[in-house]
């Protein structure tokens, strides 16, 4: 099969999936199976297609019409993102066949399946578009369909609110993207991406800066960088979990793709301060993302905030690479870009895995609040296992994949010693401290998320009655868990792929300096190296040691099962357990400058003031971005609209008068000007 067969094959399969769900709208079961399986097959085609491009030649397809030229152009970078989309979509599609059973009979399944297929298709088209107009069309398609998916459970008021915030933010973002593209197009007199590259060369620096800034705001909104992230923790949790997995795992990556495309490919990453600005924003996103995640008890909101964090980590890699690029260090830039791309891949995989795990939890406990879960590891051993793997991966612990990409990012920061400007060096190296804090806090957060929801005793009736998720859901999660392990342990084998993607953008291939037999190195084995496969083997080989040691020195002993020690008191129920709120308390105290927590304690007495009958404790943190950034803007917008309301009289004559006046002014202007 050729590239175009594969590409159009996958497009057609997604369309078939979408069409069949419309046709079979009333038959929930068949409809869901057919459309999700066709999505899975299409994703498989996508995986093959992307590998054929990464290992072979670029795929180009152009249609020239009279009015509009549009086309697809899939180079290695696009193919890499198609690969990410396809892998995730494959696992999520299989998962979905089980997951949507919850909606059978309650909701319109055909509608969900239709949107699901089109959504994945639109993401594939976004990363393969070769023309600004076409890009904007598919981008908008992706945004609107994801909006419909977010408000799928539209009978809940909070879902409608989340959808509203999402659609507003995403359109503000699109507005800035449009501005950026208009600037880029003004230099090249065409909307084709190919001409953008040439056009930039003759563009005045100020316009280039503007194009970059607008692209940063526009795509940053979609990616969820601070302070444009506020839609993310609302929208992602409200969507059905399979869709949240795709949105958080993949959709926000399309923005990363475009940021790399615009800043490296079109603009050549030629200005130092772009990288420095992006680095500061990225570090802030990483840190604030994880700090807010720690305060969340809604498992999906928690994961959504972790997306903000991980986007930050990815962008740290991208920005360090931009700094290297602008100072003329193509090899170092390639290294930074490899770190960023690796983390993009990893985040897509473990975040989708975790969202699917969260979906399974919600599927069987019918609650999103981790304070009402607990003890689920015994009820749902496989879901627990997969969630644990995802947690280890996202906490960047060896030997899983998150560790490898964070290691690469740390070394990319460390390589900044080769820069000539000392202040930039200090900034880049200090961002290493931010990244370290981020990953340690992420580990704390996932101890909380996993520990509170899966361990100890069930904290509610829901959790007591939970049962394991169906096999299809487990299968979907299992694939991604295996990938988490494979991408970590066998990291060595993935580097050539990443290098071949990063080298055309940075202009240098670093493969021989990074991948040595079975180990990765920071451009030279002397400067620092890891070999995750060896770490894995060491861990594996040492497993018998503690057993042998205890057997040799202590002989055989017995283990007795008994109650947990409760200071001699006979009570040991779920009410005595440490809660998620309690677990994150030290960090809430430490970060009180940002969280601004306030609490309310209500006590009711049983007659005498000495006998307390009931306590209610409520603690909340203040969403500072909403309060101090968005609320003033909204107030301003309302204020301006109130003033402008004066001209909106509602009388048709007045409106005609406006048109007349405008016409007269226009004519005068033309008359004077001509």
């Amino acid at each position: 099969m050729t590239g175009s067969d594969l590409f159009f094959g996958l497009v057609v399969l997604f369309l078939i999936g979408a069409a069949s769900s419309v046709v079979l709208n009333k038959k929930d079961r068949i409809c869901s199976y057919i459309s999700f399986i066709s999505a899975a097959i299409a994703s498989l085609l996508g995986i093959i297609f992307s590998f054929s491009v990464i290992l072979g030649n670029n795929f180009v397809f152009n249609v020239s019409g009279t009015f509009l030229n549009f086309g697809f152009f899939v180079d290695k970078l696009s193919a890499f993102f198609i690969l990410i989309i396809s892998i995730t979509a494959f696992a999520v599609s299989i998962y979905s066949t089980g997951y949507v059973k919850e909606y059978f009979g309650k909701k319109n399944i055909g509608y969900l399946c239709f949107l699901y297929n089109i959504f994945i298709l639109s993401m594939v088209l976004v990363v393969s578009a070769n023309n600004a107009l076409m890009f904007l069309i598919v981008w908008e398609m992706m945004s609107i369909i994801s909006y419909f998916l977010v408000v799928y459970e539209h009978e809940k008021p909070e879902t409608r609110k989340a959808g509203f915030i999402y659609i507003v933010m995403t359109h503000i973002g699109t507005g800035f993207i449009l501005l950026s593209f208009l600037i880029l197009a003004s230099g090249s007199a065409s909307f084709s991406f190919e001409t953008f590259r040439a056009g930039v060369l003759t563009m005045p620096p100020l316009l280039r800066d503007a194009a970059f800034l607008f692209a940063l705001i526009g795509f940053g909104t979609k990616a969820g960088i601070v302070p444009l992230h506020i839609w993310l923790p609302y929208a992602h949790p409200e969507a059905p979990s399979n869709v949240s997995a795709l949105m958080s795992g993949v959709m926000i990556k399309t923005a990363i793709y475009m940021l790399i495309r615009v800043s490296f490919d079109f603009l050549g990453a030629s200005v130092l301060w772009w990288g420095v600005l992006l680095l500061i924003i990225a570090s802030a996103s990483a840190l604030l993302g994880v700090m807010y995640a720690l305060m969340e008890h809604d498992i999906k909101r928690l994961l959504a905030f972790h997306s903000v964090e991980n986007i930050g980590i990815i962008l740290i890699g991208v920005s360090v690479s931009m700094i290297f690029m602008s100072t003329g260090h193509p090899e170092l830039a390639a290294f930074g870009l490899i770190a960023a791309l690796y983390h993009t891949m990893n985040h897509a995989i473990f975040k989708s895995l975790l969202f699917m795990g969260a979906g399974s939890l919600i599927f069987s406990t019918h609650t999103k609040n981790i304070e009402e879960m607990g003890g689920l590891l015994k009820k749902m051993p496989w879901t627990g296992m997969f969630f644990l793997i995802g947690s280890i991966a996202i906490s960047a612990l060896p030997p899983l994949n998150g560790f490898v990409s964070e290691w690469l990012t740390f070394h990319a920061q460390l390589l900044s010693i080769n820069l000539s400007d000392n202040i930039t060096k200090i900034i880049v190296l200090s961002s290493g401290a931010a990244l370290a804090l981020t990953s340690a806090l992420a580990a704390a957060c996932f101890v909380k998320a996993f520990g509170i929801s899966f361990l100890a005793l069930p904290r509610s009736e829901h959790a007591r009655n939970a049962s394991e998720a169906p096999g299809s859901m487990l299968f979907g999660m299992g694939i991604l868990s295996l990938l988490c392990i494979a991408l970590g342990v066998l990291s060595f084998y993935f580097l050539p792929v990443l290098d071949s993607i990063a080298s055309p953008l940075s202009g240098a291939s670093v493969l021989p300096k990074v991948a040595f037999d079975l180990s990765l190195a920071a451009l030279s084995p002397q400067a620092g190296s890891i070999s995750t496969i060896w770490i894995f083997l060491l861990l594996f080989v040492f497993v018998p040691v503690p057993f042998l040691l205890s057997l040799a020195l202590g002989g055989r002993t017995k283990a007795r099962t008994y109650e947990t020690w409760g200071c001699g008191q006979p009570v040991c129920t779920a009410r005595n357990e440490y809660t998620a709120t309690g677990f994150s308390k030290p960090i809430r105290m430490w970060g009180s400058g940002i969280y601004r927590p306030h609490r309310e304690i209500q006590t009711s007495y049983a007659g005498s003031p000495f006998f307390k009958e009931r306590f209610t404790f409520d603690t909340q943190i203040e969403p500072i971005f909403e309060k101090y950034f968005y609320e003033p803007i909204t107030r301003l917008a309302f204020f301006v609209s109130r003033i402008l309301k004066v001209i909106q009289t509602g009388s048709i004559h007045i409106y005609l008068l406006y048109i007349f006046i405008t016409l007269v002014i226009a004519l005068i202007y033309v008359g004077v000007g001509g």
């Binding site: 960047a396 290493g432 002397q526 400067a527 770490i535 202590g554 002993t557």
Partner: protein, 315 residues
């Protein structure tokens, strides 16, 4: 010598010396508190006794509780393979650098903290929460001091670091090296759970961190957890010793060299352990919420190390 033999020997040395370090520190502390104190071999007897005992397991516990001591032990041991103990050219030096060691120790901590939540005891949760909090505060300072060392030496791999530093001799005593050492020493206090961060000798619920996490363990599992904690201490100390004072370490695998290096190593960690014991006896335990201050002092020291290196060398 055969690299596999060196690796196995290194593993045995780590397991065998870990209780000794703990014993020495207890003895020095006892000396400063004008007590006689237990023999320096007492930790060996404790471990051996615990290994023979039956254990009681909470009925709420899942497999995490049983797996955590083993995983932590194994992760710490794997980290030990990446640290030069008596030979600078250790066989698995290429498999991980300082960053990998930090994250392997974090893996051990991750599972211990999970196990602390597993039994449903509120002590466990409290300990886990505090441990993760302190660990988060430690991490940025640790990374900056690693950066400072790596910039100074040009590598994050410990074999290269100890070789380079020992070949530099006394000229290795640059201000950045010294600042990074002080920063890492403060980090070592937190990382090994010593006063003023945590008190290893307490079972008072208001103050304990590590002890609270492992409160539900008993018998064999407790022995593994305790031994793991001792090994972690030893590794952190040998990091300090062999990054900053690697003199005496064997550069080639000869029996005489290794023997001399082992003696030097024992002396080095004994001195560092005594220094830590002095710090412990001369300070009071800090409130949990003042710990970020201590660790930001460490952060600033490593930041100064970085900045002064860049200003002096990079300009």
């Amino acid at each position: 010598m055969n690299p596999v033999a060196i690796a196995i020997f290194q593993m045995l040395v780590i397991i065998a010396l870990a209780p000794l370090l703990s014993g020495i520190m207890k003895k020095v502390k006892a000396f400063f508190q004008i007590r006689k104190g237990a023999s320096i071999f007492q930790p060996y007897y404790d471990i051996a006794k615990l290994l023979k005992k039956d254990s009681v397991v909470s009925e709420n516990a899942s497999w995490i509780f049983h797996a955590a001591p083993v995983i932590s032990f194994v992760a710490i041991l794997a980290a030990g393979m990446l640290i030069p103990i008596y030979i600078s050219d250790m066989p698995f030096g290429f498999a991980g650098d300082l960053i990998a060691i930090v994250y392997l120790l974090a893996l051990a901590r991750f599972f211990t903290a999970l196990a602390s939540l597993d039994t449903g005891s509120s002590f466990g949760g409290m300990g886990g929460s505090r441990e993760m909090f302190v660990a988060s505060m430690v991490e940025p300072a640790m990374m900056l001091s690693i950066f400072a060392i790596a910039l100074n030496v040009g590598s994050t791999n410990l074999d290269v670091i100890s070789q380079t530093v020992s070949s530099r001799g006394f000229s290795a005593f640059s201000p950045y090296h010294l600042l990074a050492f002080v920063a890492l020493f403060i980090i070592a206090i937190a990382e090994t759970g010593r006063i003023p961060v945590d008190n290893p000798a307490t079972h008072l619920e208001l103050t304990m961190i590590h002890e609270a996490m492992i409160l539900e363990y008993s018998g064999k599992q407790l022995a593994l957890v305790e031994l793991g904690a001792m090994m972690r201490n030893l590794l952190v100390f040998s990091l300090l010793a062999n990054i900053f004072f690697p003199w005496g370490i064997a550069s080639t695998a000869s029996v005489a060299g290794i023997a001399a290096a082992l003696v030097a190593f024992v002396i080095k960690i004994a001195v560092l352990g005594a220094a830590m014991a002095v710090v412990e006896t001369s300070t009071a335990k800090w409130r949990l919420f003042r710990l970020p201050d201590l660790l930001s002092i460490s952060l600033m020291l490593s930041f100064l190390a970085l900045v002064s290196f860049i200003i002096v060398k990079g300009g």
